[in-house]
């Protein structure tokens, strides 16, 4: 289980991700210990560079990362990482994941 200190770090880092173009509502008290998952508004258009994987050389997978393709037609993908959920709308990425799973 992800630890709370990590969660605080993610809260801060989440602000930077949002600034990069993937809109995410970072959970705090109400969603951390209260009701429901983070309601992350879907970003319009394609995913940003980070989610497209162009900076993977600088990244490390310190926390599990799970993707949930919700809608192939819109490309809506929920990406779970640490204690965050980021939602991207990327039909091409969704299609690639779908084909990879076949």
């Amino acid at each position: 289980m992800a630890h709370l200190s990590r969660r605080l770090f993610l809260r801060n880092s989440g602000l930077a991700v949002a600034g990069a173009g993937v809109m995410s509502q970072v959970p705090f008290l109400s969603s951390l210990v209260g009701a429901g998952e983070a309601d992350a508004p879907a970003a319009a258009g394609a995913a940003d560079a980070a989610t497209a994987g162009t900076d993977e050389g600088a990244a490390s997978l310190a926390q599990p990362l799970v993707a949930h393709v919700r809608d192939l037609s819109t490309g809506e993908i929920g990406i779970f990482n640490g204690t965050r959920e980021v939602i991207v709308n990327d039909p091409q990425l969704a299609a690639r994941l779908f084909h990879a799973a076949r």
Binding site: S31, A35, G36, E37, E85
Partner: protein, 477 residues
């Protein structure tokens, strides 16, 4: 277990299933507040070899609202870790567990406590705190309370005392009767199907069961709005609302090859799967279609469930199940769509001043299911009538629905209230049926009976719930 197995989804997830919540001014230390949140309902004491433990993938929380908006101003979060020290045995222990560090104990848990405030301040109050083992029997867990449970009571950096581990179930209820089409055994002769069931004393379904408790005791002036010990019961800031939650991360990926100490992957935000404030709300007030959703929601959104509280199904059923016993309640129900302001006050807003002389636990107009406690009301002083297991209905303002003590007969209190016993407080034109004040589940002999079957195990001090029943001496019923 006022909220055990109360919703379809959580009934399949016992380690995250909150079963009871207690909150009271500590009778032996009235400058402090005690809160007990119970999980893992219906533990059979002999449930080995993998005895019960908290979920290591569950985020447990005790939440406190001190300004009446239904949002947590302070939360205490509990995260558990498990360790298997001997991977080469099937046994929970390979000899007597004589202490919390005994190498004979193979499967142990520790936990972390974190305080989080609404302004974002987050403080780890304790880590690596030990849970005691389950009470297995005199060979495996000798001197259980003195050698294992008492040493697991810890005082943290903020002055808070904590305990997390197995306890004897303190809630008493005749489950087998109540869920048999609303039968109350002592009143079976009045039931519509009385020809099929005998009239008899109630049976405490939980008398030989255990539960896992997260108990805290903390200075009252630490959690009130103005950080002071309240002394005036009439002041709004004397009242706090309390609830417990359990959450799981949104995504779980099971390993293709399980490993000894677990290798599942958890990711994503915490999703609330269990919630408990007042007893029995989700269990008998919220309909099946809404139960799992209710568990997912926060108290501040509870106005969406207000209709189920103000017009409860059980109040409509009682005159049907017990023909002729509740004629005034039946007439009230038939006159118009019921709008039970008494139940709304008791469960959703607190009781305002002027309803019960000298008492209030009103938190404002926000309808939220929270266990409300007026911290300026001291524990009951023992007398011929106090404390009363009927709480406020028994003239004891220190009891439910002013918080909840371990011995409060919340089943009887809520049945009486729903039957109309409290309706006259807000609707002077309504005279309750005589039966409304007499109906009970038949597990105590009187309002001051705190020693009925299943209630004799309480402790006079923290953590108040009794020594867990041992597996050896308490075979499964």
């Amino acid at each position: 277990m006022s909220s055990h197995r109360e919703a379809p989804e959580i009934s399949k997830d016992p380690v995250a299933d909150s079963s009871d919540l207690y909150a009271f001014v500590s009778p032996d230390n009235p400058e402090t507040l005690t809160i007990i949140a119970n999980y893992i309902p219906l533990e059979s004491p002999d449930g080995g070899p993998n005895f019960y433990e908290f979920g290591t993938d569950v985020l447990y929380a005790i939440n406190i609202d001190n300004d009446g908006d239904g949002e947590a101003d302070i939360s205490y979060l509990f995260e558990f870790q498990s360790e298997t020290t001997n991977l080469d045995t099937f046994l929970y222990n390979t000899g007597p567990i004589s202490s919390l560090t005994d190498p004979n104990w193979n499967r142990r848990q520790t936990y972390t406590v974190t305080e989080i405030k609404q302004d974002g301040q987050m403080t780890v109050l304790g880590a690596g705190l030990p849970c005691p083992p389950c009470n297995i029997g005199p060979l495996s867990t000798p001197n259980y309370e003195s050698a294992l449970a008492d040493p697991a009571i810890k005082t943290l950096s903020n002055g808070m005392t904590v305990f997390a581990g197995q306890r004897a179930e303190g809630f008493y209820v005749d489950l087998g009767s109540i869920f048999e089409l609303g039968v109350l055994r002592p009143f079976a002769a009045d039931h519509i199907l009385s020809n099929l069931l005998p009239t008899m004393a109630g049976i405490n379904a939980t008398k030989a069961l255990n539960v896992h408790s997260i108990a805290i005791q903390l200075p009252i002036d630490h959690i009130t709005r103005h950080k002071r010990m309240p002394t005036n019961p009439a002041r709004p800031e004397s009242v706090v609302g309390i609830w417990t939650t359990a959450s799981r991360q949104a995504a779980t990926v099971l390993p293709s090859t399980p490993k000894a100490n677990g290798s599942s992957v958890y990711a994503g935000p915490w999703v609330q799967v269990s919630r408990l404030g007042n007893p029995l709300i989700n269990e008998v007030v919220i309909p099946l279609s809404q139960k799992d959703f209710w568990n997912h929601e926060a108290p501040q959104s509870d106005v969406q469930f207000a209709q189920y509280v103000s017009n409860p199904e059980l109040a409509r059923l009682l005159p049907v199940l017990y023909p002729g016993v509740f004629p005034k309640l039946a007439a009230y129900n038939a006159a118009s769509t019921p709008s039970r302001a008494d139940l709304t006050a008791i469960l959703m807003t607190g009781i305002p001043s002027g309803v019960v002389p000298g008492f209030q636990n009103f938190t404002g107009t926000v309808q939220a299911d929270m266990l409300r406690l007026n911290l300026a009301i001291p524990p009951a002083t023992a007398s011929s009538t106090l404390p009363s297991n009927l709480g406020l209905l028994g003239g004891d303002v220190a009891g439910f629905p002013n918080g909840r003590r371990v011995f409060d007969d919340v089943v009887t209190i809520e049945i009486q209230a729903i039957a109309g016993a409290t309706l006259g407080l807000v609707d002077p034109s309504f005279t309750p049926d005589k039966a409304a004040g007499a109906v009970n589940q038949g597990l105590t002999s009187s309002g001051t009976d705190l020693t009925a079957i299943g209630t004799e195990n309480y402790l006079p001090s923290f953590p108040y719930l009794g020594v867990p029943h041992s597996g050896y001496f308490t075979p499964a019923s």
